[in-house]
């Protein structure tokens, strides 16, 4: 256990030392602040884009443009980009060291290869958690501070759901847990591909390509994709949105969580299995 903790601390240190780690934080800060400024200036116009279908008939009363809505829109926007930021760090956790040759020093320690992979995986999850924590702080806490709190007007393709302000905090907590599970899938995928390849760029690009392809397949409503769509992890990554429906489709959410966990376990297991048998030739 001691050697595992030592390797884990070492991995955390290495993650913290790499400049690319901070790109993700910078991107989140930039996007959140930019969108918040845009909503602050042009919020009503942006909002009318969402409400134009009911604007002819109804007057909408109450503070619609509040922190909860901004957080919802930010999370919806960033959940597509966040995996790319996660892949940027986790995608070269093994391959980067293989390419630079430092993996030999790591393997010379008493820790087993499985422990090394686990330590790297946990370190990747810590980074993901911090990234998500920053997003939660910026999107929810800062937005509520700027725009105030209130009911959430959540929009999906079929309905507009008004979630009352006093029934929303637990939904945010659950949404961030599901978002963490989703990003953990990406981190695990990145690490798995990183075990297969010996240069640091290819795994990062591969993860990004997989996410982009899966997302595009999920978005196009073609009958040929109906069979594939439920099998793609990107389809389940967005299941946090179901928490903002009425009634909440809990069975769908549980199913998505199980699918995501299965992906995490599968990717991690393959990483450990492959890394244990890998010849280090560099």
């Amino acid at each position: 256990m001691k050697e595992f903790i030592a390797i884990f601390k070492n991995e955390l240190y290495k993650t913290a030392k790499r400049p690319r780690t901070y790109i993700g934080f910078g991107v989140i800060l930039f996007i959140c602040l930019t969108l918040q400024a845009a909503f602050y200036n042009d919020g009503k116009e942006i909002l009318s884009f969402f409400t134009n279908q009911i604007d002819n008939l109804f007057n909408v009363h109450g503070n619609v443009l509040n922190g909860n809505l901004i957080c919802f829109l930010l999370l919806q926007t960033l959940i597509v980009q966040m995996p790319l930021l996660v892949a940027l760090v986790t995608g070269d956790s093994v391959s980067g060291e293989t390419a630079s040759g430092t993996i030999r020093f790591l393997l010379a320690t008493p820790a087993s290869r499985s422990k090394i992979i686990l330590a790297k995986w946990l370190s990747g999850l810590c980074y993901t958690l911090l990234l998500l924590g920053l997003l939660g702080f910026m999107a929810l806490v800062v937005s509520k501070w700027i725009f105030g709190s209130g009911d959430l007007m959540a929009l999906n393709s079929e309905a507009l759901t008004i979630i009352r302000g006093d029934d929303i905090n637990w939904r945010w907590a659950a949404a961030f847990v599901i978002a963490f599970l989703s990003l953990a899938v990406v981190a695990s995928l990145g690490q798995m591909i990183s075990c297969f390849i010996d240069n640091s760029i290819t795994p990062i690009v591969s993860v990004m390509a997989i996410i982009i392809i899966f997302t595009i397949i999920g978005m196009f409503d073609l009958p040929s994709f109906d069979l594939i769509r439920p099998l793609l992890f990107t389809t389940h990554m967005i299941s946090w949105k179901s928490l903002f429906e009425d009634p909440i489709p809990f069975s769908d959410i549980y199913f998505s969580c199980i699918v995501l966990i299965i992906h995490i376990v599968a990717f991690l297991s393959i990483s450990i299995f492959y890394f244990n048998r890998k010849d280090i030739l560099t």
Binding site: N59, N63, I79, S157, E158, R164
Partner: protein, 232 residues
């Protein structure tokens, strides 16, 4: 020729009588509206709007002549642009702006109602046609159907309790028709859902908003600031 003249005379007498009857009913109705300068009441709103999922909510309603209206509550809610609580009394009180005629009689909610058609006399008004089912025995608007240039047709049904002397209902049911909501999957980021069937997108769906009033306070001269407070 003689028969034609008799027919014209009969029709003229009928319409003249219908017009006089309508004016009499509106006069009695307006007597109730005149007595009311302002009111406040508790309100409970229930929403059944197609494509909008919203829980019921409580609040407080304020009205001041001629058409200042506010529902003070914590949260988001929708009300039709043609708010019957805001506009109808104002519409009736301006008797120079419209002409009326009784187009028939109908029993609504066990009351014998005269169907009064209100036709605006000025072109610039938003109203195209107002149709009101008014209780003959005790003039109250039981049902209304108002068509305007900007906001289409809206139907309401009123239920009265203990505020009949001011023609204030204890419950209003506003019937609405709305197109099915449509939002591209890509915009809504709904990867898990299938897009709405395009053949159903333009189908109108019926819905309603129910407003229940209680604890009316009449002519209490509450401050004007309630209408200018920031919405929560």
């Amino acid at each position: 020729m003689k028969h034609l003249l008799i027919l014209i005379f009969c029709l003229a007498s009928f319409y003249s009588k219908a017009d006089a009857d309508a004016k009499q009913i509106i006069k009695e109705l307006n007597r109730k509206f005149y007595a009311l300068n302002d009111y406040s009441a508790n309100i409970f709103m229930k929403f059944d709007i197609p494509g909008v999922k919203m829980n019921s909510m409580n609040g407080k309603v304020f009205f001041r002549k001629p058409n200042r209206f506010r529902i003070r509550t914590k949260g988001i809610f929708f009300l039709p642009k043609q708010n019957p609580m805001q506009n109808i009394s104002n519409m009736f009180l301006d008797t120079s702006a419209y002409t009326t005629v009784i187009s028939g009689y109908e029993v609504v909610d066990n009351r014998k109602c005269a169907i009064i058609n209100m036709i605006p006399l000025k072109n610039e008004t938003d109203l195209i046609l107002g149709k009101f089912w008014v209780d003959e025995a005790n003039p109250l608007i039981i049902k209304s159907q108002i068509t305007t240039k900007n906001n289409g047709t809206i139907e309401t049904q009123n239920y009265f309790g203990d505020m009949v002397q001011y023609a204030l209902p204890s419950k209003i049911v506003i019937h609405i028709e709305i197109n099915k909501m449509k939002m591209p999957k890509m915009m809504a980021m709904d990867l898990k859902k299938k897009s709405v069937d395009k053949s159903k997108v333009n189908l109108k769906e019926k819905g309603s908003i129910e407003l229940n009033f209680s604890g009316y306070k009449i002519n209490t001269k509450f401050p004007d600031t309630v209408f200018t407070e920031k919405e929560e």
